[in-house]
Amino acid sequence: MNATLEVTTPSDREIAMTRVFNAPRRLVFDAWTKPELLKRWLGVRGGWTFAVCEVDLKVGGSYRFVWRGPDGTEMGMRGVYREIVRPERLVNTEKFDEPWYEGEAVDTMVLVERDGKTTCTTTVICGSKEIRDSVLKSGMTGGVAESYDKLDEVLASIADGRVSAG
């Protein structure tokens, strides 16, 4: 299955991602919330693995993720679960360890199941536009703003050699 990942910025404080998975939502929910399953897919490409993956799945409970890269570099984040409605909704805060990362963001994941397939929508709401940009820079939490599609066109034309590169 080759599902497309849709990334939008509904406002200058939000990043939304939508993706359809060919599985019932209880499995998707488990994959997002159980350490032994998270370790199999979240940020574990290119030689990166989880050094720490702890989840205390209850309202007010926290999670802690630390990834380690092939060269030993570590990247960590943490947050607190605010709402847990298994298997359809999960709300948690998130904060990266990086010093340039400002403030805290709130992630909401909604799972809608239809004919055995699950539409997963995650929305990251940030305290400010600056925090949103921090989230975008994290490389782990979201994607490219819809508004950059225009830029893609510009770049495609540069790549084609239609425009001199500077």
Partner: protein
Amino acid sequence: MEAGAYREMSPDRLDATFAALADRTRRGILARLASGEASVTELAAPFAMSQPAISKHLKVLERAGLISGGRDAQRRPRRIEGESLAGVTEWLERYRKVWEGNFEDLDNLLEEMKSKEKTRRRKKR
């Protein structure tokens, strides 16, 4: 700037770039410049905006290193700094790809979880 040089872009520079790209008019200007150099007058033409207003947008784009040109603010044609833009886009693309990669791995995991469930159900019967 070389490919991959986005890694070396300072946070300040990235902030300036993001701020520059956050505006519809400025993205329009970039799109116009992608098809070739243009003067301020030419750039202002498609927008219902005064030349000074367009000049302000150009200054923001210049500060972000996205375009160059024009010590003589009115006459020198502006042009796009392709490599600088490519650096930013590479950074943004990498970002999207991280999640696409994650989700491909999740697809595989879910397939495995589904088949395990089926096996378990069969055993129960």
